[in-house]
Every structure is written in structure tokens, then in C-alpha cells.
């Protein structure tokens, strides 16, 4: 019987093929054909994932499979190759990437229709899907790194998609450079692991690590922290989160797919995939939790003050990934991945809904110029209601199940569990306020900009499906019980679950009070003194950009200017000059004269003979 597993290599390969077709056609294909290739390739990948998932889950006790796709070569014991790992974790990720990816591709087919670079857009999107699938399927950290860099490249290309505006190019560059800092750390981590364990195959590495290192070993802590560096870069967590809000310069479907649903969760995936390593290092694990808690609070405060619809969503993404990090840090592995999945649903929904709003309002981003859109854009409205409810973790939505599980596990955590829980709870409260602030301002009140008719069914269908997933996604349990160590069932009575349940609802009421009730006016608070400073401080995302600018960018530019004639370049120029000199010197031997050649041959023979006879021993 042929197994669907044998076709797993097609999952990343088909979107890659789509990329090649679109790339090689150089934009000469008609738009229908582009959409067919671009959407079709992801659809095929999604179908394959579905079949593989059915076969995997049909087993009573699913066995993870490693499928070797191909071995590049086998030279002197060195066998680089491509192997894929199919288990509950990679399956969940594949499902999210291809499922949400397909919906966003369908949506983009209409959203981007008027763009001159339609083909280029879909070629990058397909390349992204291929790279992301490679990332989650890779059985080897080196291969994972290839996918990791691939998605980084696509993110760069797509953030700067409208590169005619210099600001977009700058945003793309910022995203690329900031994540590069993390990637460098990650590469160092990989070197360190390879140095000590001699392999980068994930399964072998985990086994080897458990044998080699005791819990709390310094080396494993350093390795984990370096990997964490890569993860915080990609997942936009403290201290490398500054690139994500700027990355909203890309087209909205890109923000939905890459900068909300999939790529930015790669850091979470990395830590989950290497969780056995992190379990060896309590320090690293606690760092993950602290980073998560701090980031989720900082970003939530910032989201409260923003007025660009996409930036609000961007900060909420940072904040939600903070929850995932918190989950990983307290050992709630399954809940973290579960939240990753539900977040992918409702955040894609929110971004696509925002896209629909922006689409109808002629690329208006400022929420204070919107208002009363409830009647005109019913689908976008309901998308936002459902998406925000899930984001705020109101009961019965998907976000509720995942966030609730994270917070309750955090409370039980041995290491500062209650503090972490309190931070998460405050974050949940704030999340609820800023999400419904957005809903009430945009969709209620008086109409400020008259919208065009809502977009066609191609954009509506994905929204409707995502609404369903955002509501009911909590019922889909990812098959993770075989991947992660089992966690004790959490049962609490009394205040703790009540608070987790109640605070988001309180947040909703406060938002309603502030933004629906005409007499509520906060300007007295935010326009003077401390209130104003605090508001501006939050608005600038805790002055992080300012700080980094002073601390890193300006000194770097100064040093670069000062070192305009690069000192290190002199070494290379020196080498080049020596080569040139030797070249000039040696060409003089090529006289073109037969007699010279013959003499040199004979001299050569004599020299070889003399060496061979041992007369001179060089």
C-alpha cells in the first residue's frame, strides 16, 4: 500500500514550482493564469497536507515518521541530505500554513488584482509558503535554517513590495537587519551544538544532548539562549520586536500571512521543536517566560494608543506571540502551539478584515478617519466582531480556550508562577480594551469617510471561513500529546479561573464605556502633564526605536563614516595587490618563444629527476 507520506516532499515542492513558473514567466502571464498557478499550487499543497493528516491521525497511536527525500552525496562519511519529519507538531504547522495560506492566497487574488506586479506578488508568496513548509518539515537544524532564511528573504521582498516608495524599502531593510541579529545568534547556537554533539539532526541531537549534558549545564544554557536569540528576532519579541510594526508597509495579505499567522510564529515553533534542549536549561526556559510576559505587556500598552489600524494589529500580534512565549517558558508546550494555531485563525481574519476596510476606503489606515462602517461593510464588521472576541479571549471563542490554558498553567508554574500569571492577566484585560476600542471606533459612531461597495466574493469567502475557524477553532485539538511531555491537568476553583474569565469581559465593557458613550472623553487625561507623557511614551512603543537609534544606529553610522576607508579592507587590498604582482611576474615567463619553453621543460625534467633521486630534499 502506498502511503501518503511518500508524497510529503511535494508539499513544499509544489509551491516552489509555482514560484519558479511565475518567476521564469517574468510577468508575461495573464492575471488569470498567475492566480491559477499562485493559488493552485498552495491548494495542492493544502490537499496533500489534508491527506497526510488523515492518514496520520487514522492511526490509534500515531508514529512520527522521518522521510528521507534525498541524499546529496556521501563523501568520506559526510552525508548532507533532505529529510522531513512528520509528527503532530509539523502536521499542525503544515495545516496552519497551507490552510490559512490558501485562504489568504484566494483573498489576494482579488485584493491585488489592480497591482501591476501581480505575478511578482504571487511568486514571492509561493516562495514564502515553500520556505515556511521547509522550515517546519525539516528534520535537521541546518535545513530548518535554510527555510528560516528563506522566509526572512520573502518577508524582506514582500515588505518592500511597493519599493517605489523609499519608506517601504527602509521598512523592509529594517525588518531584514533586525532579524539578522537574531539569525546570527541562532547560527552561532547551531555551531555550538554541532561542535559539542557532532550532529544537527534534530532527533539525534535531542537524544545526544540528554546524554551529554546535565540539567543546568552552562553550555546547554548558552546554546539555548543563542537559539532563543534567533527566535526572538523572527517572532518579534523583546528586544528585537521593533521591526514588526514597520513591516506593515507590505500589502495587507502579506501582513496577514507572514507577519501575523505564520512566519512570526517560527520562533515559537523553533523552541517547541527543540523543547528537550530547553528542558535541560531552566535559566533559558525562565528567560523565555520573562521575555514573553514583558513583551505581551509592552505591546498591549502600545496597542492602546495607536491609531493606524494595521499597527494596532501588529502590536497585538507581538503581544499574542508574547503569550506563546510565556506558554513555552512555563512548560505549557501544547497550549503554546494551540494558541499559535488559534491566533493564526483570528489574526488572519482581523488582518483580512482590515484589508477589506482599507480596500473600501481608498487605502485609509487611520481609525479616527473611519467610523460607522457597520452597515456598509457587514462582512468586515462581523469579521472584526468575531476576530476581536477571539483575540480578547471572550468565552466560547477559540482564543478563550488557548489563552485560558496558558494562564492557568502559568499560575501553577513553580518559578514565579503567580507573577507571570498576573502579567498575562493584565495583558488579557488590555487586549480586550484595545481590540474593542478598534471595533467601536471603526464600525460605530458617525460615518467619517464614505466607503465604496464591499469587495467581491473572492475576498468574502475566506473571511467567512476564517470567522468559522476563529469561533470554532478551539474545538480542534492539535495532535500534540505524542510530541510534548504530558502536563498535569489543571484544575482550579475560586478566584483564579473567575478572573481569567472575567477580566476580558470587563475590558470589553470599559472599551464600550469609553468609545460608545459620547460623554466619555479621555482627552483631559492624555493632553496634559504625566498623562500626556505616558501616552506618548506608549505611543512610541516605550521609545524603543528612539533608544535603538541613539544606542546603536547613530554610533554605528559614526563609526562607519569615520572608517570610510575600511581598515580591514586594507588586508584584502593587500592580498589583491600581491596577487596582481605575482600575476605580472609570472606572465613574463610566457614569452611565446618555443626555445624558452623547451628549456624550461628540460630544466623541469632535471629538477624532478634531482628531487626523485633524493639529491635535494625540498
Amino acid at each position: 500500500m502506498t502511503s501518503m507520506y511518500e508524497f510529503v516532499f511535494l508539499v513544499p515542492l509544489v509551491p516552489l514550482l509555482g514560484f519558479f513558473i511565475l518567476f521564469c514567466s517574468l510577468g508575461n502571464l495573464p492575471k488569470q493564469a498567475v492566480a491559477l498557478v499562485g493559488v493552485g499550487s498552495v491548494a495542492i499543497a493544502a490537499m496533500l497536507v489534508l491527506f497526510i493528516g488523515v492518514e496520520f491521525l487514522a492511526q490509534t497511536n500515531p508514529i512520527p515518521v522521518t522521510a528521507t527525500f534525498y541524499t546529496w552525496m556521501n563523501v568520506a562519511g559526510f552525508t548532507p541530505g533532505v529529510s522531513f519529519r512528520i509528527d503532530g507538531l509539523s502536521l499542525t504547522m503544515m495545516f496552519v500554513i497551507t490552510g490559512v495560506g490558501l485562504l489568504i492566497h484566494i483573498y489576494s487574488a482579488l485584493f491585488m488584482l489592480d497591482d501591476a506586479d501581480y505575478s511578482r506578488f504571487f511568486s514571492y508568496m509561493n516562495l514564502f509558503v515553500a520556505a515556511m513548509l521547509l522550515l517546519v518539515l525539516a528534520d535537521n537544524l541546518l535545513l530548518l535554517f535554510v527555510g528560516w532564511e528563506g522566509v526572512g528573504l520573502c518577508s524582506y521582498l514582500l515588505v518592500g513590495f511597493w519599493h517605489h516608495d523609499a519608506a517601504n524599502g527602509a521598512a523592509a531593510r529594517k525588518a531584514f537587519v533586525v532579524t539578522r541579529v537574531g539569525d546570527t545568534a541562532m547560527a552561532l547556537g547551531l555551531f555550538l551544538l554541532f561542535l559539542h554533539l557532532g550532529t544537527l539532526d534534530i532527533q539525534a541531537l535531542m537524544q545526544q544532548a540528554k546524554v551529554t549534558w546535565q540539567v543546568g549545564d552552562a553550555t546547554v544554557t548558552i546554546a539555548c539562549l543563542l537559539l532563543l536569540g534567533g527566535a526572538v528576532g523572527k517572532s518579534a519579541q523583546l528586544p528585537l520586536q521593533t521591526w514588526l510594526p514597520d513591516a506593515m508597509a507590505g500589502p495587507t495579505p502579506v501582513s496577514a500571512l507572514i507577519h501575523a499567522a505564520t512566519m512570526v510564529t517560527a520562533g515559537v515553533y523553533l523552541i517547541a521543536r527543540t523543547h528537550e534542549l530547553f528542558l535541560l536549561s531552566p535559566i533559558a526556559l525562565n528567560t523565555v517566560a520573562v521575555i514573553g510576559a514583558a513583551t505581551l505587556l509592552m505591546a498591549a500598552f502600545t496597542a492602546l494608543t495607536q491609531h493606524d489600524i494595521k499597527r494596532i494589529l501588529a502590536y497585538s500580534t507581538i503581544s499574542q506571540i508574547g503569550y506563546m512565549f510565556l506558554a513555552l517558558g512555563v512548560g505549557a508546550w501544547s497550549s503554546g502551539i494551540f494558541h499559535l494555531m488559534t491566533h493564526a485563525f483570528f489574526k488572519a481574519l482581523l488582518f483580512l478584515g482590515a484589508g477589506a476596510v482599507i480596500f473600501s476606503l481608498h487605502h485609509e489606515h487611520d481609525i479616527f478617519k473611519m467610523g460607522g462602517l457597520r452597515k456598509h461593510l457587514p462582512i468586515a464588521f462581523w469579521s472584526f466582531i468575531i476576530g476581536s472576541a477571539a483575540l480578547a479571549a471572550l468565552p466560547l471563542t477559540s482564543g478563550f480556550y488557548s489563552k485560558d490554558a496558558i494562564l492557568l498553567t502559568a499560575f501553577d508554574s513553580a518559578w514565579h508562577g503567580q507573577e507571570l500569571w498576573a502579567a498575562g492577566l493584565l495583558g488579557a484585560f488590555l487586549t480586550s480594551i484595545y481590540s474593542f476600542r478598534l471595533v467601536f471606533i471603526v464600525f460605530f459612531g458617525e460615518v467619517k469617510t464614505q466607503p465604496e461597495a464591499p469587495a467581491g466574493w473572492l475576498m468574502a469567502v475566506p473571511l467567512v471561513i476564517l470567522c468559522g475557524l476563529a469561533l470554532g477553532g478551539g474545538l480542534l485539538t492539535p495532535p500534540l500529546q505524542w510530541v510534548f511531555p504530558a502536563s498535569a491537568p489543571v484544575a482550579h476553583a475560586g478566584m483564579v479561573p473567575m478572573l481569567t474569565l472575567g477580566l476580558p469581559i470587563a475590558g470589553l465593557l470599559i472599551a464600550g464605556l469609553l468609545y460608545l458613550w459620547p460623554r466619555a472623553d479621555l482627552s483631559w487625561l492624555t493632553s496634559r502633564g504625566l498623562g500626556k507623557s505616558l501616552f506618548q511614551f506608549w505611543f512610541s512603543h516605550w521609545a524603543m526605536d528612539w533608544l535603538y537609534d541613539r544606542l546603536l544606529v547613530t554610533p554605528y553610522k559614526t563609526i562607519a563614516a569615520w572608517n570610510r576607508k575600511d581598515i580591514i579592507d586594507r588586508i584584502y587590498n593587500g592580498i589583491a595587490n600581491v596577487t596582481w604582482f605575482l600575476h605580472d611576474f609570472s606572465t613574463q615567463s610566457q614569452t611565446g618563444q618555443l626555445r624558452t619553453y623547451a628549456v624550461i621543460m628540460v630544466v623541469g625534467l632535471v629538477l624532478v629527476g634531482v628531487i626523485a633521486l633524493g639529491v635535494i630534499q625540498p
Binding site: A76, Q590, Y597, A598, L613
Partner: protein, 505 residues
């Protein structure tokens, strides 16, 4: 002693018979009808039939020695196959090259096949008799092929240089063979291995103080070393290793582009096949001083080849220098075989490297052939002639770029696999000095290969209106597909070559 050829002998020899038959048919065809297309068609088909024959022998005929002269084993068949495939592509490229030139070029194809036969003979030789036979069959055909007056005096000058210097090198080789014959009393590699003097025994003799035999074996050893170094010098000329490399750029430049392609591949591959077989079967690796000499030859070839190429503005000369460096890399693998433990891997490395070198070189000169179709005083071999090729003929430029990247050893090309093998065996046999040389050489190499690629990306109208002919074009497509296909998925070749290396190590 066999008195005659048996049936299985004839079957084992059938590739020779087929190729010779094709040559005869071709000779007749030229005598009756002077038609370039027909000639090349017969030759190309004949080469394909020969290739099929080689494959058949490789699968169905057991390895055996046919007469003391010719050995038919997987190693020889691999080289024959490689040589025939290279000749096939060169034949198609030569057809396009000659197509638009006047005069009668049919004999060129005939000479090509004769030279191929010479190369095949070299690959199969297990005896100095067949070695010289193959060497001269190859050499004499090449003199005529080089002097084909497509570039006027330039070709003649090149042919004359090659003729005289090649004569010198043949003299070296023959003299060397005479020395070896004088010591061992045989010309067969196998018998020579039996008669070979064990140097440790000689050492022991000296200490033991048995005067007479010491004198005898000491002088025999001397003869062996002198003979060995003379043969190496002669072979070094054919392989264009420093310091016997002086002819290379001049002859590469002067010869018509298809001849250069042939000279760079078939001629060198055939000779290397004999050298490696000879060294392994008589265990030349026991002579440390010879290895010392070869060490310097390899080191200087890598450095000088790369240095000479750096600012070279003539593509054919550039490829000539690069081939000097590449043969230097090959010698690293050759030297790595000195360690018994690493011998199999080293032989495997040489074979893979040669396959990569053949593919890449045929492809690179193929582009030069296609660029040089116009009737002109010289081939299109100046660097500025290639400006703008990426914009005007993107596909041709892409092929050329692929070949250059393969020469530079960039991953996903066959050239990388070959280069990687060289690194692997240098590490395995702990040849650190040579490893450093290979690394530095590769770095310098990257510069001049990329320089050619950059030239092609310049905006220019120089390369407008270059027509890509069918035969040559499809040959390039095939070569590029092999280059990249095997670069991405080299496992089958590696397995196959590894099995062959096991048989002779």
C-alpha cells in the same frame, strides 16, 4: 601465453572494433561524397554506437586482459565512455564551427575519431606498448587538428609548438620506458609490479652489508627513479603540469575551438587514466622521493595556473591556465592515494573530479565554439567579445555562467562535487600544504571566473545577432543538464565510481 584471440577476447575488444569500423566507413564516405553534415552525422552516430557497445561490454563481459597489451575492466570502460561522450559533443560542436567556413573540413571529423581511438587505447592500456600506441595515435591526430587553418598563422604556430614540444615529451617518455625496461625486463604493468624492487629490502641490504647485491639493487633503484621521473616529465607535459605547462596557453589559443576542447579533455583524461593505473599497479607510491617531486608539481600547478589566469583577457588562454590549475587539483587526489587506507577514496575522488572536469570543459569550450562561428581571422575569444551576452543571448550566457561557476566549484554544479572530493581526500590523507594551496587557488579562481560573468552582464551591442545553431545548442543544453543534474543529485555517479575505485585500489 595465448596464441590467438578467442571469441570472448573479441567481444571484450568490440568497442575498439566498432570505433575502427566507424573510422573506415567515414573514410569511405569522405572519399565518395564530400559533405560535412553527412560526415558529422556518421561520426556522431558511430560514437553513440561505440558508447552503447562500451556499456554492453561493461555489463555483460567479465573484466579481463586481452593480450598483454589491452585490459578491459570497469576502470578502463569508464574512461572510454567518458572519452567517447566528450568526442560526441565535440563532434556536434565542430560541425557548427566548421559549417560556415569554406574549404573541406570533413577530414577534421576523421581526425577527431582517430584521436578518440587513441584516447580509448590509452584508457585500456596495461602495457607500455599500447601506451605508446595510444599516445602517438592521439598526438599525431592532434597535430593535424591543431593546425587546421581556421585561424591562419596562429593555428600553424600552435601546431608547430605542440609538435616540437610534444616530440620532446615523447622522447622523455620513451627514454624513461627504456630505463624501466632495463631494470625489470618487461613492458607490462603487471609483470613490472612483480619485478619491482622493494626499497625497504634495499635499505635492509645496505645495513646487512651484502656488498654485491646492494650494488646491484642500488643501481637498479637508480634506474627506476630516473626512468620514473622521465616518464612523469613526459606525462606532465601532456597534462600541462608546471613546469611542463608552457605550451598550454599558446596552443589552446591557436587551435580551433573544438580542437582545444578535445585537447583539454580527451587527451588529458586518457593520459591520466594510464598514469593512475600504472602508479597503482606497480605501486609507484612506495617511492617517497617521486612523491616529493609530484608534490611540488601539484603545488606549483595550482599556484601558477591560477596566478597566470588572473588578469587574462583571452577566454581560451584563461581556460588554459585554469586547466593547469585544475590538473594541479587532480594531482592532489593522485597524491592522496599514497596512503593505502585512503587510496580507494582518493581514486574515487580523481574519477569524480575528472568527470566534472570533462563536463565543464566541454561545455565551456562549447560556448566558445558557438560564439566563433563567424568566418574571422581568429576565434571569438577576447573578453570584450562577450560583453552583453546576458542581455542579447541570455540562454547561452546562462550556460557559460553555469560552466564557469562549476569551474569555480560553486555548489549545485558538478564542479562543486569534484572540488569537495579534493578537499575531502586532502583532509583524509592529511596533505595540509596542498589543501591550503587548493583553498587559495580556488579563491583566486573565483575572481577570474566571475570577471567573465560580469563582462557578460555589461550592457553592450557587441553580442547582438549571434545565432545559436541546433546541434551545438542542444549539446550545450545536454551538457548543462548533466552538470546541474549531477550537481544536485550526484549519488548514482558516486556509487558507480566508488565501485570502480574499489576494483583497482
Amino acid at each position: 601465453m595465448t596464441t590467438g584471440l578467442t571469441g570472448t577476447d573479441l567481444l571484450a575488444l568490440s568497442p575498439f572494433i566498432t570505433l575502427t569500423g566507424v573510422i573506415l566507413v567515414l573514410m569511405m564516405a569522405i572519399a565518395f561524397a564530400r559533405h560535412l553534415g553527412l560526415t558529422c552525422l556518421i561520426a556522431a552516430l558511430g560514437l553513440l554506437v561505440t558508447l552503447a557497445n562500451i556499456l554492453w561490454v561493461a555489463i555483460f563481459v567479465d573484466p579481463q586482459l586481452v593480450t598483454p597489451l589491452i585490459i578491459v575492466d570497469p576502470y578502463a570502460l569508464l574512461f572510454s565512455g567518458l572519452i567517447v561522450i566528450a568526442s560526441f559533443f565535440i563532434c556536434l560542436l565542430a560541425y557548427n564551427y566548421h559549417q560556415q567556413r569554406g574549404g573541406h573540413q570533413e577530414e577534421f571529423t576523421l581526425l577527431l575519431l582517430l584521436a578518440t581511438l587513441g584516447g580509448v587505447t590509452l584508457a585500456h592500456s596495461a602495457h607500455f606498448g599500447s601506451f605508446i600506441l595510444g599516445l602517438e595515435l592521439l598526438g599525431i591526430s592532434l597535430y593535424a587538428m591543431i593546425s587546421y587553418p581556421t585561424q591562419g598563422l596562429l593555428s600553424l604556430e600552435a601546431a608547430l609548438k605542440y609538435l616540437i614540444l610534444s616530440g620532446v615529451s615523447s622522447a622523455f617518455i620513451l627514454f624513461g620506458i627504456a630505463f624501466l625496461f632495463a631494470t625489470t625486463g618487461t613492458l607490462s604493468f603487471a609483470e613490472m609490479a612483480d619485478a619491482n624492487i622493494n626499497p625497504t629490502a634495499v635499505q635492509g641490504g645496505v645495513q646487512g652489508g651484502v656488498q654485491g647485491s646492494v650494488q646491484g639493487s642500488e643501481s637498479l633503484r637508480l634506474y627506476m627513479l630516473i626512468g620514473g621521473s622521465m616518464i612523469l616529465a613526459g606525462v606532465g607535459f601532456k597534462l600541462s603540469l608546471v613546469p611542463f605547462h608552457m605550451w598550454t596557453p599558446d596552443v589552446y589559443e591557436g587551435a580551433p575551438a573544438p580542437t582545444t576542447a578535445f585537447l583539454a579533455t580527451v587527451s588529458k583524461g586518457g593520459i591520466f587514466a594510464v598514469l593512475l593505473r600504472f602508479f597503482v599497479s606497480v605501486d609507484g607510491y612506495q617511492y617517497q622521493t617521486i612523491l616529493d617531486g609530484l608534490f611540488w608539481v601539484a603545488l606549483l600547478s595550482i599556484f601558477l595556473g591560477n596566478l597566470l589566469a588572473v588578469m587574462q583577457s583571452n577566454i581560451k588562454r584563461l581556460l588554459a591556465y585554469s586547466s593547469i590549475a585544475h590538473l594541479g587539483y587532480l594531482m592532489v587526489a593522485f597524491l592522496a592515494a599514497a596512503e593505502i587506507g585512503g587510496r580507494q577514496l582518493a581514486i574515487e575522488a580523481s574519477l569524480v573530479f575528472l568527470i566534472a572536469y570533462f563536463t565543464t570543459t566541454v561545455g565551456a569550450f562549447g560556448v566558445v565554439c558557438i560564439m566563433s562561428r563567424k568566418l574571422a581571422a581568429r576565434d571569438t575569444d577576447q573578453l570584450p567579445d562577450y560583453e552583453g551576452l546576458f542581455w542579447n543571448r541570455p540562454l547561452l550566457a546562462a550556460f557559460f555562467a553555469a560552466m564557469l561557476l562549476s569551474l569555480a566549484g560553486i555548489p549545485l554544479t558538478l564542479g562543486f562535487i569534484g572540488k569537495f572530493y579534493i578537499f575531502a581526500v586532502a583532509v583524509d590523507s592529511e596533505l595540509w600544504a596542498l589543501l591550503v594551496a587548493v583553498i587559495i587557488g580556488s579563491a583566486i579562481g573565483l575572481f577570474y571566473y566571475l570577471r567573465v560573468i560580469f563582462t557578460m552582464t555589461k550592457r553592450s551591442s557587441v553580442t547582438e545577432g549571434i545565432a545559436i545553431p541546433k546541434a551545438g545548442g542542444w549539446s550545450l543544453v545536454a551538457v548543462t543538464l548533466i552538470l546541474i543534474g549531477l550537481g544536485v543529485y550526484p549519488a548514482p555517479v558516486i556509487e558507480w565510481v566508488s565501485a570502480i575505485a574499489r576494483t583497482i585500489s
